[in-house]
Point group: C2
Chain length 670, copies 2
């Protein structure tokens, strides 16, 4: 990683096999995305090979490279083929061509073109049409759950950005196949409400114009009560005709400025945000009303399913927040308009280090929907701690929902595809991004791998976390023989990081032992008496919530085979044991040791593994630019301190509860 | 309470005994405080009797009232005497005259003059010379730990106030005998550092001019590192001659603007504030350097003793924050200049609901010092919960330090008096005030009783909490027969409130089970793994810190008799049991029940008593102006919700730890 700013597009020189001569390019005529594809091809060749290809205007000039748009396979797909001395990249459509160019450049940068001796025959298509990035940027320049500096887009309640940097950002996203971006926080407060008014629409359009040539369409997060707060109507009731008319006028206005806006993103009736419940209406009523306003313009309503009772009384054992998304939305299956897309968090809680896949996936048959992930490390270390998220995302993609529904299989990765009624397809992904104005975009330079990994999995959810780690590492640290050991070591660090983080965190899927509000560091009873519905109820003998049919019944929201597995402590995956069960500390786990001893073990191990990661990093001192080395070094040191707090607080907490020391005699503070 | 704004100076009509004719006043010539005394006499008579006395200029006009300055008793003392038809109020000095006038008016307002049939012969002197109010007001208008609206003095980094309101405030304070006020937060940050510069000194002087006629002198809180941060010196080392010279110049400048400034208030080396420790110097070095700068102007350095390690590691059982003040300052006894006055918090922690009196009192023999109390309800309910603080302060005043040192006795109230070397006199009091821009000054109208009670105790620490409650209640709600039942009931509420609050709070002096940062509501393990040094270390069997000689040895900082009592669980006062001891939950208390059962009992009782207080208040509905009734009603309702959280979280916490239910079968949530 020569310059952290360049991420996975480093200026690293490569060798070209003799048969390829890339110094002339012929490109078929196309729109602005096709123009971008040609530009990016030339920029990439300059970056990797040190020369700029000449663009020729006729095929009879026998160009080394042909970029074209053709074929009738899936949207956004591409082929990369070599024949004799020429390279032909064919996009099914303009974005497809752009993605083909970037894939070729990635292959080149990784030395794969050389290794293949210049013979390529590659066809790729994205698993799904929607590959979204969500910004939680506020107009004052802060970023909710942002750990990489201020907003890329906003400052002091106006748009404020470096156009070159946004172009670089668009390039990074497009190189992964991202095609949608929501630019403002889903909690739409203050002047963010005005983004859909003429006060701001000119500026929104200007930003859209930077992303558009990269095949990326904007979304705006809106506030459901806008007709009341902005429009001065007496209500925002979705069944009120004046409200519907207000949103229609609003949409007409918005689309005059941004004709290709992808739509609106809505957080409604969630953590204090307004929504249809306030007016006794359903979420279908709310979403469909907006959908009708957007429909004439080809826009979608992306409607979040993060709806739960956030003023729970901890005394009430009958409520189970984990049930909320399914309980609220499953009965609505089939009632949404065809331009409503539900955005469902991957798990039933909220981006915890380990939680099960939400039971809505595979269950929905007649409702368009996508999965929401979180790239920004809200609960996973604030981009201080290294935590390579594709490790967990791979588990999500491989999870078998048990709902095959006539498809090839019921795994999440099998379900990802374009919507078709009657099939439980997941139409794509959205993810809360981890970037900001920090020079290296993501605070911790290695956290770039999480953005990269998200893009790759959104394109192809069948990729392995290991393959992605190595891919990213080679692109960022180099692929020539001299760089390979470093790149391999860094990939190794990534792959160690999630297991280590998970080990020193809340044990076995019990969740929410994190510091309230900040969500960094341990606070074991921090949520225990709060209104957020996330309790572990540890007492002297046992811990966890019984979510089986003898408890809250949450397991029954899953398909029959999963319901049976999750409800049985002997078969439940151990990393989710305390999500589904209330267990005594003397429960015997698969390794023959008690739950308590396993808590001790994992916490000692998590710290030790983190210490080892720090030592590994120290070994890179002479291999990296000093600023890259030092900045991550100080983060690894802070991470070790955090791991120590988690280890000691968790161990002490359970030791105080039980009085039982560690079997191996390791130090537990009293 | 007809108008909450008037506090204890309501416009309530009284009867005058026939022998007194107060319609003419002769006042000896005097300075501006004496002029205030005359004005206040006339205003008070107007308020209480409905006419304005005429001021005559010669005694031969046979005036009904004579106000004069004479005598050689203690400073600020006064006599009130009637002879035949005339009333003579004699102040030892101008403030004494003013205090005499206010005392007469208070007696009149309470019906005491009438009851005494106009025959009065009263002599009073304040127990001590320093009766201070500390504002924690920030220049941006916020008030640290303020619960009664924005600052009275500041807004947007400038002075900003209503001069009439400040005059009313000065009157309220002077009516209690307050004679010092520090106007800015002891955490001196941002523009507050500039109060000692010409940027602000003109405005400081203007404010001082409002307080001066009421006998109240200003203090400024200063930042110890000012020579570095303001003066651009390379250091703020107190032994550096350039630093000393900088402070001398600074003092010279400040006193050109405010010649009677009482001095500087300093929080040094405390919770992140700069101080002499940074330069390897002692607190005597720091304080004496400043004292020398102030000495030529007659100013004092008020130096806070709130110095402790606020970055403690919870794993470290050897450190005990309770020891800090004594460990830091006792060795310095006798090393401070004669215009340094140490300001010592009443307890070793930080204004907890119940903590012991700090062992420095009675121990210091050669160091001027005062006691710091907190009127603002930081840990005692934020002026949402009713919590009548004189109840606790009385216990402090009655505490026998065991250090008699040749005085009448060793109780705190015996130690209060003017400084004399070799005696352990407490030279007065400072208290963090509870007022802000709310119409009723204190948020909860009944919290006015805490300000009143502080002033009365600072004047006379021998007063009982009960007497003060009734005095305040009569002055605020009326003393005529029709008002008496209401006034008595309100006094009853005050006197119930502290025991109720204490019962539902952290049990038996264990302290700090409060929500971190805000300090409102329970968070039982909120400080357990923090850096603040305030741990209870509850495990399955026991709770508390052993502070006896077998533990941290804190008890040994007390006089021998107290050390013995505190170190013995059988003799230790039960309300401090868990401050001094680590005890098993099955420890048997004086009532024959276990510690655990007593925790349950007090928490059920605390809630029930709060519920009863709410019912009592509801009974006042028809007796009070609707805004007075409603505003306190909503606060009592919030208090009951708070009491419920405390009761249930505390009980559940210990039930989960022990598995032992309540003996009486009351509901404890699991």
């Amino acid at each position: 990683m020569l310059d952290e700013y360049n991420c996975w597009m480093q200026q690293i020189r490569q060798n070209l096999p003799a048969n390829l001569v890339l110094d002339t390019v012929f490109a078929e005529k196309g729109g602005e995305i096709a123009v971008t594809a040609v530009n990016e091809f030339c920029l990439g060749i300059q970056r990797l090979l040190g020369f700029s290809p000449v663009i020729v205007t006729a095929t009879n000039e026998n160009p080394g490279v042909i970029l074209r748009i053709a074929g009738n396979n899936a949207p956004n797909s591409f082929t990369i083929k070599t024949s004799e001395n020429s390279l032909i990249i064919t996009g099914r459509d303009e974005p497809g061509l752009l993605y083909g160019v970037f894939r070729f450049l990635f292959l080149l940068a990784q030395g794969e073109v050389h290794k293949a001796q210049g013979r390529l025959d590659i066809t790729e298509e994205p698993a799904s049409p929607l590959r979204m990035i969500n910004h939680w940027d506020n107009l004052d320049g802060t970023v909710e759950r942002g750990y990489a500096g201020p907003s890329l887009f906003f400052r002091d309640n106006r748009f404020h950005y470096d156009k070159d940097r946004i172009t670089d950002y668009a390039r990074l996203l497009a190189s992964l196949g991202i095609n949608r971006i929501s630019i403002n926080n889903v909690n739409v407060r203050g002047s963010a409400k005005l983004l859909i008014t003429e006060d701001y629409l000119g500026e929104v359009a200007a930003l859209a114009a930077i992303f558009r040539p990269f095949g990326i369409r904007l979304l705006l997060s809106i506030n459901f009560s806008a007709p009341w707060s902005l429009g001065k109507l007496p209500t925002a009731d979705p069944l009120d005709s004046a409200v519907a008319a207000w949103w229609k006028d609003c949409s007409d206005l918005v689309y005059r400025y941004i004709p290709d806006l992808a739509g609106f993103l809505v957080k409604a009736d969630s953590e204090g945000e307004p929504g249809p419940f306030q007016y006794g209406r359903s979420h279908a009523d709310g979403a469909n009303m907006l959908a009708k306003a957007l429909k004439p313009h080809g826009g979608d309503v992306i409607w979040r399913c993060f709806v739960y009772n956030c003023t729970q009384d901890w005394r009430d054992h009958s409520l189970d927040r984990a049930r909320a998304a399914y309980d609220h939305f499953m009965p609505l299956d089939g009632t949404f308009d065809d331009n409503v897309i539900l955005q469902i968090k991957h798990g039933p809680y909220d981006f915890q280090v380990r939680e099960p896949v939400t039971p809505l996936f595979g269950a929905f048959q007649k409702t368009r929907h996508i999965m929401e992930l979180q790239i920004t490390q809200e609960y996973t270390g604030h981009q201080i701690d290294l935590c390579y998220l594709p490790w967990f995302w791979q588990d999500i993609m491989e999870f078998d929902t048990g709902h095959a529904s006539g498809l090839a299989g019921g795994r999440i990765k099998d379900l990802v595809g374009p919507y078709k009624e009657g099939c439980s397809y997941i139409e794509g992904f959205a993810a809360v991004v981890n970037v900001g104005c920090d020079h290296n975009w993501t605070g911790h330079c290695l956290a770039q791998a999480n953005l990269y990994g998200y893009g790759r999995l959104a394109w192809n959810p069948g990729l392995s976390a290991q393959a992605i780690a190595h891919e990213w590492s080679r692109l960022s640290f180099g692929s020539d023989p001299s760089a390979q050991p470093l790149a391999d070591s860094v990939a190794g660090l990534l792959l160690q990081s999630y297991p280590a983080f998970e080990k020193y965190n809340a044990p076995f899927g019990v969740c929410f032992m994190v510091t309230p509000h900040t969500h960094y560091g341990p606070n074991i009873e921090g949520y225990e008496f709060s209104r957020w519905g996330t309790y572990h109820r540890a007492d002297a003998h046992a811990i966890g919530i019984d979510r089986t049919p003898t408890g809250t019944g949450y397991t029954s929201q899953y398909s029959a085979p999963n319901a049976a597995v999750f409800a049985d402590p002997a078969r439940c995956p151990e990393n989710l044991l305390l999500f589904f069960h209330r267990l005594r500390y003397d429960f015997i786990m698969k390794n023959g040791e008690t739950l308590l001893q396993n808590i001790y073990n994992t916490h000692f191990e998590g710290y030790d593994e983190t210490a080892a990661m720090l030592e590994t990093w120290k070994g890179f001192r002479t291999s990296l630019p000093v600023e890259v080395y030092q900045s991550a070094l100080s983060l690894f040191e802070r991470q070790l301190e955090n791991a120590r707090e988690w280890r000691d607080q968790i161990n002490t907490y359970f030791y105080r509860k039980t009085g039982i020391p560690d079997k191996k005699g390791r130090k537990i503070f009293d």
